[in-house]
């Protein structure tokens, strides 16, 4: 049998994978993308909470002290995400964290990343929104901010707002193709240039290739589309360059499993995992106060009752992003919607906190809830434990896995959360407008949809797994371009930063491909141009 070979092998098809896949394919390289999840498109996305629909394309991975929500399909998180597309504030790049010295590579500042942010905003593209785009829920946050003396902004989104129906089913995938997921830009453009995207291919290991001219051999198993168990099918592809982009809970596991074959990986692989400092709270809004204090009313006469209406993220306040403020005190407060799958986590303020009579009463006011996300400065305190036998975690069911990551917030992270909680209360509880309660940690511990940092870039080999060009230290031609590379929490939603860093990493990846004899065109345009 002839060995399977490719020039560039990309593992994972989210932001970190799709972007290099496009540029390398458009440049003329043979590109193969191995993606663990299935391939789905608008017609497959159902507006339904029936098990067997959304949980085929999105996973909850429960670790010790943390649960991560992540995409599992061609397009990765971009298919199920809420498309809030924000640049990280300048101070983020200057963070010192618990280590006491600058964590980002010297070459990287906000100004240095801005040209790459520009490209991504154009490629997806990102829409600057205005007040008529802000949902009722976002409007309540904005009006409450204003009343409390704060500013509030409509949030830019990778959504075509002219075709968006404001249905609020973004977690299930957009059946109107209004969300600019990677299925609509980088991935089809990569395929137009010959990239081979293989869904239901789960990578297990990356080892040195014995074939001359090839650096790495990537081992995969093919998954059963109905239960995601492994089938008998398995294979190996030899590649000149490998781009690992399996997400911040997938990438470190593949690397650690491969470590013995690769002659070791940097100690920082599987350490410094961050949940982006995510903290979700529910404000139980008093409808009468929303009318009398905020002066709000809808065409049908109600004041708010708008939780399920609109896009999941429409407004945020940037007032707590003061660059001069000390670390662990800065955060964005953002309005967000989760489907009732997460209702269990909401506290009711009574005792017991998250179940029983008080909680059921609160459910009856569900339409008047306002769900809020604080993205804070955490401590990158997560670590990965023993490597599971296959994949990134032990799959218990479609949509549910047992992960090996541990995250126990340090006192600094707790302090950051407390500050965000206090600020949120000052805004949302002023004059009894609402009752604010963070999600209960009893049922799922800390929940994040923004895993980061498990194989981060940096200048210090002791605390970073990758060079500032996203190459794994000591392993020429092996790159990591997903959320794992982001060295700190960002105080904003991370997709745009992950994408901008991936754009920036492309030149280095192309350089290694050229070293290996792959002839590449320069000046590849943005996808679709």
């Amino acid at each position: 049998m002839t060995a399977q070979t490719t020039d560039v092998l990309v593992i994972g098809s989210g932001f970190g994978g799709a972007i290099p896949a496009y540029y390398l394919a458009a440049g003329g390289a043979r590109v193969t993308v191995l993606e663990r999840g299935p391939r789905a498109s608008a017609a497959d996305f159902t507006q339904s909470m029936r098990l067997g629909t959304y949980n085929k394309i999105v996973d909850v991975v429960q670790g010790d002290g943390v649960a991560v929500v992540a995409g599992n399909c061609v397009g990765g998180g971009s298919v199920v995400y809420f498309a809030a597309s924000l640049r990280a504030p300048s101070f983020v790049f200057e963070r010192h964290g618990g280590l006491g010295r600058r964590l980002w590579p010297a070459a990287l500042t906000r100004a240095a990343l801005d040209p790459w942010y520009d490209r991504v905003e154009e490629a997806l593209p990102v829409t600057r929104t205005d007040w008529p785009d802000v949902s009722y829920a976002g409007g309540v946050l904005a009006a409450a901010c204003h009343r409390a003396g704060h500013t509030c902004n409509p949030v830019p989104v990778a959504v075509d707002t002219s075709t968006c129906t404001n249905c609020n089913w973004m977690l299930s995938g957009c059946r109107f193709d209004a969300k600019r997921s990677l299925l609509l830009n980088y991935l089809p453009a990569a395929e137009a240039h010959g990239a081979d995207i293989r869904p239901l291919h789960e990578v297990q290991t990356v080892v040195p290739s014995p074939l001359s001219g090839f650096r790495y051999a990537v081992g995969y198993t093919v998954l059963d589309p109905d239960d995601y168990g492994c089938t008998a099918q398995a294979g190996v592809i030899h590649a000149k360059v490998v781009v690992l982009a399996a997400g911040a809970v997938g990438t470190p596991v593949i690397l650690r499993r491969s470590a013995p074959f690769l002659g070791g990986v940097p100690a920082a692989v599987g350490r410094y995992f961050s949940g982006n400092g995510d903290r979700v709270s529910v404000a139980d809004v008093d409808e009468r106060k929303a009318r009398s204090l905020l002066g709000l009313s809808r065409p049908d006469g109600t004041a708010y009752e708008g939780l399920p209406v609109g896009r999941p993220i429409t407004a945020a306040t940037y007032d707590h992003l003061d660059p001069a403020a000390p670390e662990y005190s800065r955060f964005t407060l953002q309005q967000i919607y989760f489907p009732p799958l997460t209702n269990l986590l909401a506290q009711s303020g009574g005792s017991p906190a998250w179940f029983g009579v008080g909680k059921r009463d609160m459910r009856a006011r569900w339409r008047s809830w306002l769900t809020l996300l604080a993205m804070t400065e955490d401590d990158n305190e997560g670590t990965f434990g023993a490597v599971p036998p296959t994949g990134g975690f032990i799959r218990l069911a479609p949509g549910l896995g047992q992960g090996t990551m541990t995250y126990h917030p340090t006192s600094r992270t707790r302090r950051a959360w407390d500050r965000a909680d206090t600020a949120l209360r000052d805004i949302m509880e002023k004059d009894g407008l609402s009752r604010v309660l963070p999600w209960s940690e009893d049922v799922a511990d800390t929940v994040t949809a923004h895993p980061l940092g498990s194989a981060r870039i940096g200048d210090d080999p002791a605390t970073s797994a990758l060079t500032d060009g996203n190459e794994l230290r000591g392993h020429s031609g092996l790159f990591v371009t997903d959320g794992a590379a982001v060295p700190t929490s960002l105080t904003v939603n991370p997709s745009l930063t992950i994408a901008a860093l991936a754009e920036r990493a492309v030149a280095g990846i192309a350089g290694r491909a050229a070293d290996a004899g792959v002839a590449l065109r320069r000046d590849v345009p943005l996808p679709g141009r």
């Binding site: 640049r87 929104t129 007040w131 009722y136 409007g139 809808r298 306040t317 017991p352 459910r363 479609p398």
Partner: protein, 217 residues
């Protein structure tokens, strides 16, 4: 529960989710009514009723404590969902119920609460004691906490999402949980769209320092 048993139970519980995903369960309610005699069913119903309480189903209902009026998790079909003979968790439910009943016996013993031998111990506890006992199951040091976490997830999914059913269909059939939330109705084609979704006017001053796209500068 010892370690291997706990692991088996957890695996089966999540396999229940998997079974639901592949459509193995079509009519949860039917299974519930035929099996509602057993102690296992009674104990699990009482557990679900503690998390999301509902009204008594008939005068003298001891299982559903009747802490409220209106529907709770039992009315939303949670136990039918767990008990379908077609799901792998069914054979383990007696062990889970027995675990809860053992906890109830221990709870009652230290508090000198008399439990009637005619009912499962957990069912014999007054609602406030069921509540206190269940809260304790989520103690971070409790070895069986993962079992109760997954059980709670299932209770929540049954009530808040009508998990085995398509959402539009469940709403059309008046699903008790979705109705309680006042989950919005879809349009005539079964899809949700919200033409009215915004107050449509400026509601706050913008941050002075933002980029052209609207990011923090």
């Amino acid at each position: 529960m010892d370690e291997p048993e706990r692991r088996t139970v957890l695996k089966a519980l999540v396999a229940t989710l998997a079974g639901l995903s592949t459509g193995a369960l079509e009519t949860p309610e039917a299974a519930a009514s035929t099996a509602s005699e057993s102690w296992t069913t009674q104990t699990l119903e009482a557990f679900a009723d503690t998390l999301i309480p509902g009204e008594r189903r008939f005068p003298g209902d001891m299982v559903v404590a009747g802490a409220v009026t209106g529907p709770g998790a039992v009315q939303a079909g949670v136990v039918g969902l767990l008990q379908s003979p077609r799901l792998p968790v069914a054979p383990l439910l007696p062990a889970i119920a027995a675990l809860l009943d053992a906890r109830a016996v221990a709870y009652a013993a230290v508090r000198l609460i008399w439990l009637s031998p005619a009912r499962p111990p957990f069912v014999g506890l007054p609602f406030s004691d069921r509540t206190a006992l269940v809260a304790g199951l989520f103690d971070p040091d409790d070895l069986d906490r993962p079992v109760w976490q997954v059980m709670s997830l299932l209770v929540g999914l049954a009530f808040d999402t009508a998990a085995p059913q398509d959402t539009a269909e469940a709403l059309a059939q008046g699903h008790p949980g979705l109705t309680w939330l006042r989950f919005p109705e879809p349009g005539p084609d079964g899809l949700w769209r919200f033409p009215d979704f915004s107050y449509g006017r400026p509601l706050a001053v913008l941050h002075p320092d933002t980029t052209a796209s609207g990011s923090p500068a």
